[in-house]
Symmetry: C2
Subunit: 242 residues, 2 copies
């Protein structure tokens, strides 16, 4: 479909875990890196926005994984933007194997931020750049779920270190997910269980900050909440195991 673009990748050795399947982190990286490349290629990436002091900030991420691909698997990653509101850009992704079988569906919601004034900006500001690329195709999975505060049963502390932070001095998006995955029952990863992951990025974390990662299990769902030492919630997430 018009304005859907497909990128081709292969699962590299450094992206697999001990089951020889791509880690959740690395799948997230394929998706987020492709988001950046696609926006840049279409003329509304961070490079095009920065002269106006604007940037994209990831606010929500949904990830439906039927199976994590094995080492050396080649796959097609298709991405498109659709149905944006005035404050939220929705970018969608599907990952399919060489027979066309879709094995991951994902959806991300982005806000545009004026990083000098520190305020969200209406997407109409860039409608000339952005609107020609809006695609009619529906999102491949349901919209982000509501995530409520949790009552943690297991808690782990983490101090934000150099290798956690990005060019912006904030904790890297995928590190939040990494911290949570590291607390999961390893059997869930060993068995390549299908899951739906919802993540809400609520507030940024900076170098040296002490974080508390809380985990709660409710039926077949593992809930997480990452809180900063000043009591502010940085991130909430839910892994629904199928």
């Amino acid at each position: 479909m018009k304005n859907q673009t497909t990128y081709h990748y292969q699962v590299a050795t450094q992206n697999v875990d001990f089951t020889y399947r791509a880690t959740i982190d690395s799948l997230g990286n394929y998706i987020l890196n492709t988001a950046g490349i696609d926006a840049q290629g279409k003329g509304f990436g961070v490079d095009a926005l920065s002269p106006q002091n604007l940037t994209w900030v990831l606010s929500k991420l949904v990830f439906e994984v039927d199976s994590r691909p094995e080492q050396f698997t080649e796959f097609d990653l298709t991405t498109w933007v659709n149905q944006n509101t005035r404050l939220v850009s929705t970018r969608n992704f599907t990952l399919s194997d060489k027979d066309g079988k879709m094995f991951i569906r994902a959806l991300s919601q982005w806000c545009m931020l004026d990083y000098v004034r520190r305020v969200p900006v209406n997407l109409e500001t860039i409608e000339e750049l952005y609107n020609p690329y809006i695609c009619e195709a529906l999102s491949p999975c349901e919209q982000p779920k509501r995530l409520r505060p949790i009552e943690p049963e297991v808690v782990k502390e983490h101090i934000v270190v150099y290798s956690d932070i990005d060019f912006n001095c904030h904790m890297n998006t995928m590190r939040y997910i990494g911290l949570m995955v590291d607390m999961l029952d390893i059997e869930l990863l060993k068995q390549n269980c299908p899951f739906r992951l919802d993540v809400h990025f609520m507030n940024e974390c900076v170098l040296g900050q002490k974080l508390t990662v809380g985990m709660q299990t409710v039926d077949e769902t593992t809930l997480f909440e990452i809180t900063r030492e000043d009591g502010v919630v940085a991130c909430r997430a839910s892994f629904e195991w199928k």
Copy 2:
């Protein structure tokens, strides 16, 4: 020169730190991933060795960094193997910018391991595969330094988690370096100080193991020693700041 092969890369956004320069981790990853690709392409990679239950294990790494490249910098990474002894394969690397100016030199030493019998194997076992690719070019930096036990002044604990381990269930090479870099004075990274890094990988670490990362500063050198809870030294390193 014959048997030297050059690969072309560009520093990606996800590989830079807050100085907009490639992290030490990511530079190590470019080098180690290229080592794997080059060995595979020449017919003596892990894929060719595994039918005989053999694999490559990294034992020492030297890294001379004049300057870490900025985001989007394109560079040539040239690699070759030379001067192997019967038990050690030496692989060399240079990184050069588009004007041909070399900004990183590196050297790695690898043992071949029989992973069923858990013993090192004489390289003559694969001489038909390996020897045609030995290059006469000298290594671009001095051989690995001797690293002695340290008297740590600062100590940090780390439990090996899922995201630290590789397909082999051992802590990933670059994670050792990541743990050490996270303890460095951030000013050294902010100022893009030139350095020589020597790392000796001595014993493996596995999931759940508690590690102690010790750091000692002697003049312009920062020394590290990573010890497992059973008292075995896993890794020693030295950063010499120029």
